[in-house]
Amino acid sequence: MLYALCLLLFMIGLYCAVVKKNLVKIVIGLAIMEYAVNLFLIMLGYRAGGTAPIIGRGDLQAGAERITAHFINSAVDPLPQALVLTAIVISLGSLALLISICIRIYDKYGTFDITEIRRLRG
């Protein structure tokens, strides 16, 4: 059910990117899609009643540098978190590039309305 809500968020973003005709709205739609995918990836790694995948002093067995079994059996999945970290930075980069294209288009055409930005046929 939570996954479905996440997909709903993705679909709202897709709807916004496909149907809206304002450039900034389209960018917002893309951003929403990226949030949804990131959230979905993190939810895949969630463990009910778990702990964050960061080893503290309490997770080391006294004396030896060994991790307690409790930590091993309760830590959430670190791999999706690493993937999402990558994905967030990628989406920030593409947001910066998209917005600079938008600003430049506004400068040239004087509008954000995509129906008025039609120099190219087809």
């Binding site: 993705f10 973003g13 897709l14 990117a17 496909v18 450039l23 389209i26 893309l30 899609m33 990226e34 995918v37 979905f40 990836l41 895949l44 791999l79 999706p80 993937l83 990558t86 994905a87 990628i90 980069g93 593409s94 590039l97 998209l98 294209i101 938008c102 430049r104 288009i105 040239k108 055409y109 930005i117 039609r118 120099r119 190219l120 087809g122």
Partner: protein
């Protein structure tokens, strides 16, 4: 040889990080360095032909770390990418003098090359996505490099559709991870083999087809290509049409279908349908065009249809457990057409850039009679046109012939006929180009056009020579066995190939 595999990514990356530091004064040095990088990568790619192996990044085993894989298909793609990038970079030396910020252009160019090389050598699904983003974002910026109305509009459209495609691909990757727990292609393939294709994986597969189909501009997803490719500077158009849509779209899609998910009948039919649609729709949209580069861009869609059709027929035969010889023939046709198209379409875009630079226009109706003013460009353009239309001695003929034979052998007589008809329409369309650009009367205002000399000419002649020589790739058995056949085998072996490479 496998030890140098990361160099395909790291060398252009490091050079791209250094280049923006060069200001206006260091422009010549920056250009020289960038050319050195692309040419040495080409040499490296030639040296990698016929080798196989796995490189473990950071000495982590393929289970926990990222692996780079070199196999037949990878080395074929590396060859195509680096041939085209060397030629386009050589062409840029003089062509890009029209624009400002050349060091940044060179940097973005190298980043795009690094991204494509990274996609091709990656053996990890998420890593493939990351490098796909590197190449895509560099190409979005390069399409808008001219900063004029059309270029910005095309760049925005391209970037929006590209970002949607990236989101689809990432969601697909998340679904694959959620179902298999692995990101390495070999481990994911093994897990998928054990569980079979369930609903989640089928959904992921359709997301991948939509995402990579958008990147490859197959017909229902082609809206951005006819705008983006003509708007870019000519060397970038050559890179985009020549290799980007193949490395990011067709290569990635066929790698995932054949080596990770395994071929199945519905997916093969989807591929065939996409291929036929792209072939027919692309060529008929191209016929009516009067803008030189836009016409070429529509032909890219059509020619990509051939590639996908060949791969789809092969997948269908494999999925139905037919004769693997015919399957590998169809895939051979598809892949051979892929490399051929990389060469002749980039050559066509370079000649269009040369013509545009000399005359200042792209409209076919405003040109004419350039044969006496630009003889070398004309020769190169004619060779490339003959190749793309499938005129006998050139490379395009052989790949189309193989595709037709494969279609007939598989029992698709209708498809074979469509292939031939599309090829004839392509021929007509390029006769029009010859007629309006190079023959006919020379308009008054073009009296003073001069042939572009120097690096631009070298780049065009290099690719034109390749157009002639590449027929040898299928005609000489020893070349076919070392270059094309391993690539075909990598796909025909299917899911087993991924595991064989990773020693599972």
């Amino acid at each position: 040889m496998i030890r140098v595999l990361p160099a395909f990514v790291v060398v252009p990356l490091v050079m791209a990080f250094i280049l923006p530091v060069f200001g206006r004064k260091g422009k010549a040095l920056a250009t020289l360095l960038a050319n050195l990088v692309t040419i040495s990568l080409l040499a490296l790619a030639v040296a990698c032909v016929g080798k196989t192996g796995v490189y473990e990044v950071g000495n982590w085993s393929s289970r926990v770390g990222i692996v780079l894989v070199l196999d037949g298909l990878t080395s074929l793609m590396l060859l195509a990418i680096n041939v085209v990038s060397a030629a386009a970079m050589l062409f840029s030396v003089r062509y890009m003098e029209q624009y400002t910020a050349k060091p940044k252009y060179l940097s973005l160019f190298l980043l795009m090359v690094a991204g494509m090389n990274g996609v091709v050598i990656s053996g990890d699904i998420f890593n493939l996505f990351v490098f796909l983003e590197v190449a895509s974002i560099a190409s979005y910026a390069l399409v808008g490099f001219g900063c004029e109305h059309e270029e910005l509009e095309a760049s925005f459209k391209y970037m929006v559709l590209g970002s949607v495609a990236s989101s689809f691909i990432l969601l697909g990757i998340a679904l694959v991870y959620g179902n298999t727990g692995a990101l390495n292609m070999a481990y994911a393939a093994r897990a998928i083999q054990q569980t079979g294709i369930n609903a989640g994986l089928a959904f992921a597969m359709s997301l991948f087809i939509a995402g990579f189909g958008l990147k490859a501009a197959l017909v229902p997803f082609h809206a951005w290509l006819p705008d983006a490719h003509p708007s870019a500077p000519a060397p970038i158009s050559a890179m985009l049409s020549g290799v980007l849509i193949k490395a990011l779209g067709v290569y990635a899609l066929s790698r995932l279908i054949f080596n990770v998910f395994g071929v199945s009948v519905p997916v093969s039919w989807v591929l065939i349908a996409l291929g036929v649609l792209s072939m027919v729709v692309g060529v008929f949209l191209a016929v009516g065009q009067w803008d030189f580069k836009r016409l070429l861009a529509y032909h890219s869609i059509s020619q990509m249809g051939y590639v996908v059709l060949g791969i789809g027929i092969g997948a269908l035969i494999l999925a139905k457990r037919g004769n693997p010889v015919w399957a590998s023939l169809a895939i051979l046709g598809g892949l051979f057409h892929l490399v051929n198209h990389a060469v002749f379409k980039s050559l066509l875009f370079l000649t269009s850039g040369s013509v545009e630079m000399a005359t200042g226009t792209r409209q076919l109706k405003k040109m004419g009679g350039l044969v006496e003013r630009m003889p070398y460009t004309r020769a190169a353009c004619t060779i490339a046109s003959a190749s793309i239309a499938g005129v006998p001695p050139f490379n395009g003929f052989w790949s189309k012939l193989i595709l037709v034979i494969a279609a007939v052998q598989a029992g698709f007589f209708g498809l074979a006929a469509v292939t031939v008809v599309v090829s004839l329409v392509t021929l007509l369309s390029f006769l029009k180009v010859q007629r309006y650009v190079f023959l006919g009367d020379l308009p008054e205002e073009l009296r003073n056009t001069r042939e572009n000399k120097g690096s631009m000419l070298v780049a065009m002649l290099f690719l034109a020579t390749l157009c002639l020589l590449m027929s040898l790739l299928v005609l000489v058995p020893s070349l076919r066995v070392t270059v094309l056949q391993p690539a075909v085998d990598a796909l025909v072996e299917g899911v087993g190939h991924a595991m064989k490479v990773a020693n599972l």
